[in-house]
C-alpha cells in the first residue's frame, strides 16, 4: 500500500493565531467597559468606525495581493489594531479621523510592508502618530468624563503648567486631578492593568515586556522625583496617566514588532519605558507612548542581533 509523505512532527497543535488575538480582544473589554461608562456612546461609535474600516481595508488589500481573504480576516489581527487605535484617540474626534487613522494603519503600516508578520512598526501606533502629526488640533481635544465639554488631558495640562513655572504640588490641586493622576482617567489605567494581568495568566504574553516597560518608566521617574519633587511628577502619576498600562500590556507586547528573545524583550521594554519618561518630561508631546514604541520598533532588529543565542561553552 502507498502513502503520502511529509516531514515530522505529526502531532496536532491546539494553538491558533485567532485564538491569541481573540484573547487579546477579551482582555481589552474591561478598559472598553470603563471608557464607555465615562464617555458614553462616542466610544462605541469610534470602535465601530475603526473596526469596520479595518475589515474593509484588510479585505481590499488581501484581494489586491491575491491572498485568501476569509482565512486572513478571521485571524482577527486587523481588529486588534483597530480597537487599540480607537481606544487611543479622543472619543470626540470627527468620524474621518478614526477612518483615516485606521486606513493608514492597515494599508500603509501593515500591508504595504508585507502584511501580518512582516510589518516592522506597530500599525495602531503608526496610525496614531499619523493622526497626531497631521491633525494636532482634533487629536488634543479630549472629552471630559460625564460632561459635554472638552479639555486637555492631565499630562498635557501638567506639562504646560510646569512650563509656566508652577510646581507639581500646585498643579495637582487642579480639578483635573483625582487621587494620583487624572480624575476618572485613573480607572481606565486600572482596567488595562486588569486585562493585562489576565493575558499574563493565560500565557498569551510573557512577563518580560510589561515588567521592563514599567520598570524602565518607574526608575527614571522615581530618581527624578526623589531629586526634585517640585519639578518632576511622581512615578505613580506616570504609571496611572495616559496609556502607560495599555502600552505595557497591549501595545509593546505586539509580538510582530517586538524583539524576539527574552533578553531582547527586556531591553526592548526598558527602552520603551525610558523613552516614555524622557519624551513626556523633556519632549514636545504630552504623551509619548506612540513615539516611544515606534522608536523601539526601529531598534528591535538590532536588539535581536545582539541578544541572539551563542554557542554554549562549558569551562
Amino acid at each position: 500500500m502507498q502513502f503520502p509523505t511529509s516531514s515530522s512532527p505529526f502531532s496536532p497543535s491546539s494553538n491558533t493565531v485567532n485564538r491569541v488575538m481573540l484573547q487579546v480582544l477579551l482582555a481589552l473589554l474591561p478598559a472598553i467597559g470603563i471608557m464607555f461608562w465615562l464617555f458614553g456612546d462616542a466610544l462605541l461609535i469610534q470602535l465601530l468606525l475603526a473596526c469596520s474600516t479595518a475589515l474593509l481595508a484588510e479585505s481590499y488589500m488581501l484581494w489586491l495581493r491575491k491572498k485568501p481573504i476569509k482565512m486572513h480576516l478571521l485571524d482577527l489581527s486587523a481588529l486588534v489594531s483597530a480597537v487599540l487605535l480607537a481606544l487611543a484617540i479622543p472619543t470626540i474626534t470627527p468620524w474621518w479621523i478614526s477612518i483615516s487613522g485606521t486606513l493608514f494603519a492597515i494599508i500603509i503600516a501593515k500591508h504595504l510592508y508585507g502584511g501580518l508578520g512582516y510589518n516592522p512598526f506597530n500599525p495602531a501606533m503608526a496610525g496614531y502618530v499619523f493622526l497626531l502629526i497631521s491633525f494636532p488640533q482634533q487629536m488634543t481635544a479630549w472629552a471630559v468624563p460625564f460632561d459635554v465639554i472638552s479639555s486637555a488631558t492631565v499630562l498635557d495640562y501638567t506639562k504646560t503648567q510646569l512650563g509656566l513655572g508652577f510646581s507639581v504640588h500646585e498643579i495637582s490641586t487642579s480639578p483635573l486631578f483625582g487621587y494620583l493622576a487624572g480624575k476618572d482617567w485613573e480607572y481606565i489605567s486600572l482596567a488595562y492593568l486588569l486585562g493585562g494581568l489576565w493575558l499574563l495568566q493565560r500565557k498569551i504574553i510573557s512577563w518580560h515586556i510589561p515588567a521592563a516597560v514599567l520598570l524602565g518608566l518607574t526608575i527614571p521617574a522615581l530618581t527624578a522625583y526623589l531629586i526634585d519633587s517640585t519639578q518632576f511628577t511622581s512615578p505613580l502619576f506616570h504609571l496611572l496617566s495616559g496609556a502607560t498600562f495599555c502600552c505595557a500590556f497591549f501595545i509593546a507586547t505586539d509580538p510582530v514588532t517586538a524583539a524576539t528573545s527574552n533578553k531582547g524583550r527586556l531591553i526592548f521594554g526598558v527602552l520603551i519605558g525610558s523613552l516614555i519618561y524622557i519624551i513626556r518630561t523633556w519632549g514636545g508631546y504630552p504623551d509619548a507612548i506612540a513615539f516611544a514604541v515606534l522608536l523601539a520598533n526601529l531598534g528591535a532588529p538590532s536588539i535581536d542581533y545582539y541578544t541572539r543565542p551563542k554557542q554554549v561553552k562549558l569551562s
Binding site: 509523505t5 511529509s6 516531514s7
Partner: protein, 173 residues
C-alpha cells in the same frame, strides 16, 4: 576659514598617502568572482576556463549569466557580489544539465590518448595503446573529452539520486 582650508589640505595628504602605500595589489574582485564559479573549466561560457571568465566579468566584457554548470545559484551569487540584477541563464551558452560524469566504454576504446589532454582536471587515466578510464570522483562533467574521441566511446552518465545524497527541501507535500 583658514582653519578649514588647512584641515582639507591635511585630509588630502592623508588620502594621497593611503592611495600610494595602502594600495591593494592586483584586483581582488577577480578572485572573488572566481571563487563563486564551479571550476568545471568547460569553456561553455566561451572563455578558456573559469579564471578568464571571471576576469572578463570583472572587466565588464562578459555577462554574469553565461555559466550553465553554475546554474541559477551562481548567477544569484554573482549578482549579489557585484550588486547587479540577477537574470536567467543565457541559453546561447548552454542549458542546465543534471550532474553527470564521463564514462569510457572500454570495449570501444582504442587507446589513442586523444581524450587525455583536453581534460582540465586530469581525470582520465591512460597511456598510448593502454585502456583509458575516467576517475569518476575527479570528473567535473565538463564534457570536453567527448568531442576529441575518434570512436565516440565516451558517454555521460547522470549521477544517480542516492539516499546518501538526498536532502530535505521546503516543497510541501
Amino acid at each position: 576659514m583658514l582653519l578649514l582650508c588647512l584641515i582639507f589640505i591635511l585630509l588630502g595628504l592623508i588620502l594621497g598617502y593611503a592611495a600610494q602605500h595602502l594600495k591593494v595589489q592586483g584586483d581582488p574582485i577577480v578572485e572573488q568572482i572566481n571563487a563563486l564559479l564551479p571550476q568545471t573549466q568547460c569553456g561553455q561560457c566561451k572563455y578558456p576556463g573559469c579564471k578568464p571568465y571571471a576576469l572578463a566579468i570583472a572587466q565588464g566584457e562578459a555577462d554574469i549569466n553565461q555559466c550553465p554548470p553554475g546554474g541559477e545559484q551562481t548567477i544569484s551569487a554573482l549578482a549579489n557580489l557585484l550588486g547587479t540584477e540577477t537574470k536567467p541563464l543565457n541559453a546561447e551558452f548552454g542549458t542546465v544539465k543534471a550532474p553527470a560524469v564521463a564514462f569510457i566504454i572500454e570495449q570501444d576504446c582504442i587507446g589513442c590518448v586523444k581524450c587525455i589532454p583536453p581534460c582540465p582536471v586530469d581525470a582520465i587515466l591512460g597511456a598510448s595503446k593502454q585502456m583509458h578510464t575516467v576517475i569518476a570522483s575527479e570528473c567535473t562533467g565538463c564534457e570536453l573529452c567527448i568531442a576529441p574521441c575518434p570512436v565516440d566511446c565516451i558517454i555521460m552518465i547522470p549521477i544517480a539520486n542516492k539516499p546518501s545524497q538526498w536532502q530535505w527541501s521546503t516543497a510541501h507535500d
